[in-house]
């Protein structure tokens, strides 16, 4: 039977073998960048105290009022998770938008549940549909209004981005409030227009740069680019939950510093910083 020293020696040996058989896929620069994101975030988790100035991103603070008006008029609130989904064969960045939209959906669902407004949700991906259903049920559970949960409906609008747009355009019912949060493609304008038609309050958001103009034209409340990721932190009451924005702001400052310093080095020092950072 090996003693404790021998055991530790073997474990260290195995770790050494594993490390010896490994190499960095992206090179030192990008690997440090990825580790840096995690480290900055961890440092903020450990020390989340900071001054905080909040903004009303996407007019989400007015959701409660919009739901009260919807309850008075007897209209439903509609929420689309965009056209990227979670299990569809689109870019990972597109799919992450759907996850980022879920806390906003939770916020809207809680306001709807409190006001007794039924929710009509749509997504074009079965996994996103399941998550949306769970989010709405959780909102009813949190607000102790489970008896109203059956009035909300989650629809799977089928594969293809055009389907969601066609469905929204064909729906002529008036809506109390309309929300579209998530990935959008070229047909985004049609989806937004269909959702905005007849809605007394709209809030749209996407990180797709090509659809920023569509969101700006159609939505009263807008979340453009990184704002879609920052908005959920704005909705949280605890400082700890606003870490995303703290970390994002710090990374943006670091990035700006790197860009300025890199530009200065390229201009005055003839250094190819881009090759070092990108690794090619």
């Amino acid at each position: 039977m090996p003693d404790i020293g021998e055991l530790i020696g073997r474990v260290v040996g195995i770790i050494g073998q594993v490390l010896g058989a490994s190499s960095l896929r992206l090179g030192i620069g990008p690997t440090l960048a990825i580790a840096g994101v995690l480290l900055i975030l961890l440092s903020l988790v450990a020390r989340p105290i900071s001054r905080w100035t909040t903004r009303d991103l996407g007019r989400l603070s007015a959701v409660g009022r919009a739901m009260a008006l919807a309850a008075e008029s007897g209209a439903a609130a509609t929420f689309s998770l965009g056209t990227a989904g979670l299990a569809r064969s689109v870019a990972a960045q597109e799919r992450l938008q759907t996850l980022a939209a879920l806390p906003i959906l939770a916020h809207v669902s809680r306001a709807a549940a409190r006001s007794g407004v039924s929710m009509e949700l749509s997504a074009n991906d079965p996994v996103a549909v399941m998550l949306a259903e769970a989010t709405v049920n959780e909102a009813h559970r949190a607000t102790e209004t489970l008896e109203r949960a059956g009035r909300s409906l989650v629809s799977y609008v089928g594969e293809g981005r055009a389907t969601a747009a066609g469905r929204a355009l064909a729906d002529e019912r008036s809506r109390g409030a309309a929300f579209v949060m998530g990935g959008l493609g070229e047909e985004g304008l049609l989806l937004l227009d269909g959702m905005a038609g007849g809605a007394s309050s709209t809030s749209f958001g996407t990180t797709a740069a090509s659809q920023a103009s569509s969101v700006l034209l159609e939505g009263e409340g807008t979340l453009i680019g990184p704002e879609l990721y920052q908005a959920p932190s704005d909705l949280r009451g605890v400082g700890h939950d606003r870490i995303a924005v703290f970390a994002g702001n710090r990374l943006i400052w670091i990035l700006a510093l790197v860009l300025v310093l890199g530009s200065a080095l390229v201009v005055f020092g003839h250094v190819d910083l881009a090759t070092f950072v990108v690794g090619r």
């Binding site: 992206l26 066609g166 047909e187 159609e218 990721y229 939950d241 994002g248």
Partner: protein, 206 residues
């Protein structure tokens, strides 16, 4: 426990895949490969479950005479048509001529017709944007009109000047705005992904 197990799974799987992304190691690659295969299988199962749920829902609507029955019938007939075309004896699945015809002659024109509405809806959206926020939309539409003028297919000296100016506008001011937006999105994406991996997304109780 209801939340702990999924959180632990997310953290462990996410960190493993992240480690495989940055480190080349045969053992790690094998584990990551298995996890990705599970992910693909789960996605496929979810897609099948979604399809079955759709059929069950519309069949139920038809049987119980609720909702828009004509739409439900249309959905079921559409699903049946594609399934029959893809599964009849001797069919080549998605590459079968019948499936390709249904997609090429029916679905593609429908999608193209929908996309053809974009220009009309763009004008309507511009009107709506002007009603919502006059000043900002005016600036945006003025800039868009300027870009359209610069990209006009004109010949001669004027055309050459416009083409040069159009290229500069696309590469410098518009390009820099897009790059800035993409950098912000990339940072926010990394932060959101890190929050998911580290399970720091607490439940909101607003």
């Amino acid at each position: 426990m209801r939340r702990t197990l999924p959180t632990v799974l997310i953290v462990v799987v996410g960190l493993l895949l992240l480690a495989d992304f940055v480190i080349i190691n045969p053992s790690l690659a094998a584990v990551a490969g298995v996890l990705i295969e599970y992910l693909v299988l789960l996605s496929a199962a979810a897609a099948v479950a979604g399809g079955l749920s759709l059929v069950a829902r519309h069949a139920g609507d038809l049987l119980h005479r609720r909702g828009e029955r004509s739409s439900s019938l249309l959905v079921l007939v559409g699903i049946a048509l594609i399934l029959v075309a893809g599964f009849y004896p001797g069919s080549r699945g998605a590459d079968d001529g019948a499936v390709r015809w249904l997609v090429g002659a029916l679905l593609a024109p429908l999608v193209a017709a929908l996309f053809a509405l974009l220009f009309i809806f763009l004008l309507m959206a511009a009107r709506r944007g002007l009603a919502l926020r006059m000043r900002e939309t005016t600036v945006m539409l003025a800039a868009a009109s300027l870009v359209v003028v610069l990209l006009l297919p004109l010949g001669g000296v004027l055309g050459s000047w416009l083409a040069t100016a159009g290229s500069w506008v696309l590469a410098v001011p518009i390009g820099s705005v897009f790059r800035g937006l993409l950098m912000g999105v990339a940072i926010a994406t990394a932060i959101t992904a890190a929050r998911l991996l580290l399970a720091v997304d607490g439940a909101s109780d607003d």
